[in-house]
Symmetry: C2
Subunit: 200 residues, 2 copies
DNA sequence: ATACAAACGGAATGAAGCTTCCGGTTCACT
DNA sequence: AGTGAACCGGAAGCTTCATTCCGTTTGTAT
């Protein structure tokens, strides 16, 4: 609904020390719980894990949605950090960087259900956050463009394909229990599918 | 929890005509609503769509879970019918049959959120239903085996890979709004990824 | 036609989870 | 070391659903 703005830094009102500490604990607790259980965790559980009362939680964040958005913002920022780290690796070919990132995003999603859900979900804010995370789209574009330039992937590869492959893999990973250990197979299939078409 | 058994046919107590009619209306309404909105639809809405009161719904099905299970059983049966239809097409190569089925399963999942969720979900019964649907696994095995025998796919292709590809694609399709129309690209990538490895 | 077991509808119940409220506590500035 | 704004905890309020209950209606077998 409202415009999305970073709510962490702007000291519109420099929080009291204890309040600031609690704010961070709440975000950390939410992050951890949601990584494990997904977005359906209860406010009460987050408060408890953070070692504060629900009242405190609601003093810091107007409602559930606001808390989740702020938390996601952090997770996306970490994702971009990973992505940038991969882009800088000049010891790898562009294709190897691409594969490395896709694999890394699989591992991250395997560890963090909440992030996977966010990556997949369109509903309202999530998509807006992803797109507004500085550097996310740009870095993916670069990842794709460099591999295309190198000629080691299909020539029409776009950044959206990277997102799509990652989301699809993340989905399988999160449902791994039904077909244990098999997401590596899908990864192999998809990476093979990214190869350049036959020269003809 | 309990053993899964077909609850439709066994006339353990031949339903009264109106009751039977209502039972079918309820299943149809649930099927339609869940195809559109996913598993989170409300019992009241299902009852309303079926043109009955909630009380009636609960006379027919002990609880929400039971209704959903029965409905899924029907959906899986339809999926097997599609699969069998494809397997019979002798005008196609084995590889073409494989591609046709994967594409068909994409379209079905695009049309039916509930089925997609069921295909992906492990939680309890769903997986059991899928595995216990007569012919589902067997048909997929045959689909894979024939393509392997023909040499038109990677030689280690297994039926689980077909499920995985379908689920992964279904996931992307259901979240199409974020990257409109792009699931066809992932389909192309995955199908290419199924090609046999380089002869060497 | 009559009777009654079975079925019907939908208001009432209860559980679960988000959010608010308020009396008591704590920081931070003089 | 005093004071008040800001903060804290968690009980209570509210909403949303699944599920139950019960007085009324309907199919079907005599």
């Amino acid at each position: 609904m409202a415009t999305i703005e970073t709510a962490t830094k702007p000291d519109c009102a420099p929080l009291r020390a204890d309040a600031q500490r609690n704010r961070e604990r709440i975000l950390a607790a939410a992050s951890k719980l949601i990584a494990i259980h997904g977005n359906e965790v209860e406010m009460t559980d987050i408060a408890e894990a953070a070692g504060v009362g629900v009242g405190t939680l609601y003093r810091r964040f107007p409602d559930r949605e606001a808390l989740l958005i702020e938390m996601l913002r952090e997770k996306f920022a970490e994702l971009v950090a990973t992505l940038r780290g991969v882009l800088e690796r000049e010891d790898l070919t562009a294709r190897e960087r691409l594969d490395t990132f896709i694999r890394a995003s699989c591992e991250i999603q395997g560890r963090d259900l909440g992030l996977h859900e966010a990556l997949s979900t369109v509903t309202g804010e999530h998509q807006a956050i992803a797109r507004s995370t500085p550097g996310l789209v740009e870095s993916m574009e670069r990842l794709a463009a460099e591999a295309v330039a190198e000629g080691s992937v299909r020539s029409d590869l776009a950044w959206e394909d990277i997102v799509m492959c990652s989301c699809a893999l993340g989905h399988v990973i999160q449902h791994e229990d039904s077909l244990p250990g098999s997401w590596e197979r899908l990864l192999a299939i998809q990476l093979a599918g990214l190869n350049p078409g036959p020269p003809g």
